[in-house]
Symmetry: C2
Subunit: 294 residues, 2 copies
């Protein structure tokens, strides 16, 4: 299979998300300036914008208009950035480098980093609260985002991950960490894309499942890349997972079986797209998730 780059349409969506995020985030000079500078620094740092692009691509796949999902997609990215800022803190993963740049607490200090994460989280829900769509759909998006984030989602995953550092992790716990820490928000991104653009409930459920599958594919691939890449390629410290005895697929199954598991998850995702009006971009994204590994 030939190696592919980031799909062109994903890049186009990412650029629209970046432009809109720059509008939605508070201006850098608004007091208290360090808070707003930190929010912009972390949320506008270079990134694939995978989650917001998935929300827009899911709208497209189910026959909706991706443009109607732009603000909700930005809200999802804000939640993702909030979680990265807090995960990187000294008390948690203690990472100094993120997306090739000093992490938020290294640049702005721990206090401002904690508060900038909190403020991004609030801004995400504020953005959903102001969506120009019927209130019942916007409120459903709120529920989907809280469900993916809180103590049944991302935060539970991060807690389980932190608590299992330095101790051997079984396959079941590893699955749970990945499903909660990465899968839940990616699955919700796809579902939110369908819901906000007014798509059918059946498509929302199906694309949620697709998201869970390719979320796993991306996470396993990231784990593999963490072991096999240089810091320059990653934009952060390489081999850091192993150094702190993190629960990862490669640690449990080795590199070859991990690559295989990522491919299987991507294939499960692709199979779920059968029969949708415009599955092309989501199919490309599923392929992209694992072709980085070849």
């Amino acid at each position: 299979m030939r190696a592919v780059g980031v799909p062109t349409q994903l890049k186009a969506y990412a650029e629209r998300v970046n432009a809109r995020l720059a509008d939605l985030l508070p201006p850098e000079n608004k007091p208290p300036a360090p808070l707003h500078a930190a929010m912009r620094y972390s949320c506008l740092a270079p990134g694939k914008r995978l989650r917001p692009a998935l929300a827009m691509a899911a709208a497209e796949a189910s026959g909706g208009d991706p443009a109607t999902v732009l603000d909700a997609a930005c809200a999802i990215e804000m939640v993702h950035c909030f979680s990265l800022i807090h995960d990187d803190l000294p008390a948690l993963d203690d990472d100094d480098l993120r997306r090739g740049m000093p992490t938020c607490h290294v640049k702005f200090g721990e206090a401002v980093a904690i508060l900038a994460g909190d403020a991004l989280f609030a801004l995400a829900f504020d953005t959903l609260g102001h969506l120009p769509i019927p209130a019942d759909r916007a409120l459903r998006a709120v529920r989907l985002l809280t469900g993916a984030t809180g103590s049944d989602g991302l935060v539970a995953g991060e807690t389980t991950d932190i608590l299992s550092e330095g101790t051997p992790v079984d396959a079941e716990t590893l699955e749970r960490i990945h499903a909660l820490k990465t899968g839940a928000l990616i699955a919700a991104s796809c579902e939110i894309g369908v819901v906000v653009s007014g798509g059918a409930d059946e498509d929302a459920s199906r694309l949620r499942e697709y998201g869970a599958a390719i979320g796993l594919a991306f996470q396993i691939a990231d784990d593999v890349l963490n072991e096999t890449s240089t810091p320059e390629q990653l934009g952060k410290a390489a081999g850091s997972d192993r150094a702190r005895q993190k629960a990862t697929y490669p640690a449990l199954y080795g590199l070859d079986r991990s690559r295989e598991a990522a491919r299987e998850a991507a294939d499960r995702g692709i199979a779920l797209l059968e029969g949708l009006p415009h599955p092309e971009l989501l199919r490309d994204l599923a392929r992209f998730s694992v072709e980085r590994l070849t």
Copy 2:
């Protein structure tokens, strides 16, 4: 003026809030158990439940049914607890004692405390997302809570407070810190009470103003009590504000003028209740805010 205790009806509301919070919070033994234990520990710790009680009392004052506001009131308390957990962290106020008990990070470690705060924040919006009221009203409550919390509210106030530690603060900055850090959420609590119970927009605006006034009264009174009480009376370290050169009313104006300012704010709040169907409890609360000082 005779000194009064906590109004009886406030205590009754607080008990209903405590019982409902115990239901809404995840069970302590649900994995990851330390996360859920920390959420419950901080959110069920003894407290006046001033903000949720104000939401219920505002519903009552404007002729609504306080029972319809119970879940929204719990969401407000979750946000308050989230902010206390994060404010107490070593990187911020570094407090070891809260409500007479070890702070969340002292009891559960910093990582779990940060994540428990995040999860409480998510649960607050999840709770609003599930309110059994028309979606447009629930979504308005979401907007009110995000507006009071994020980088235009509580988080901005905490940031300004942290950034001005150790440097002289002028009256304008002090007003802004108090308005953002305490006033915004208390004002929103009152407004949410009216909105969620289906009250009139005019009452919502008026009770928002009432909330801002008595929020200031409570904050000044707390600053005064921080200087004049024993740790046993406070449930936390006394004189801690002065020790770390915090911006406070007593530091800027002295104790006497601070007491006077608190009374004036409470009086402004009471004047705003004129003409409402059931202003009694809110009037008692305004008096209670400052009579603790006598």
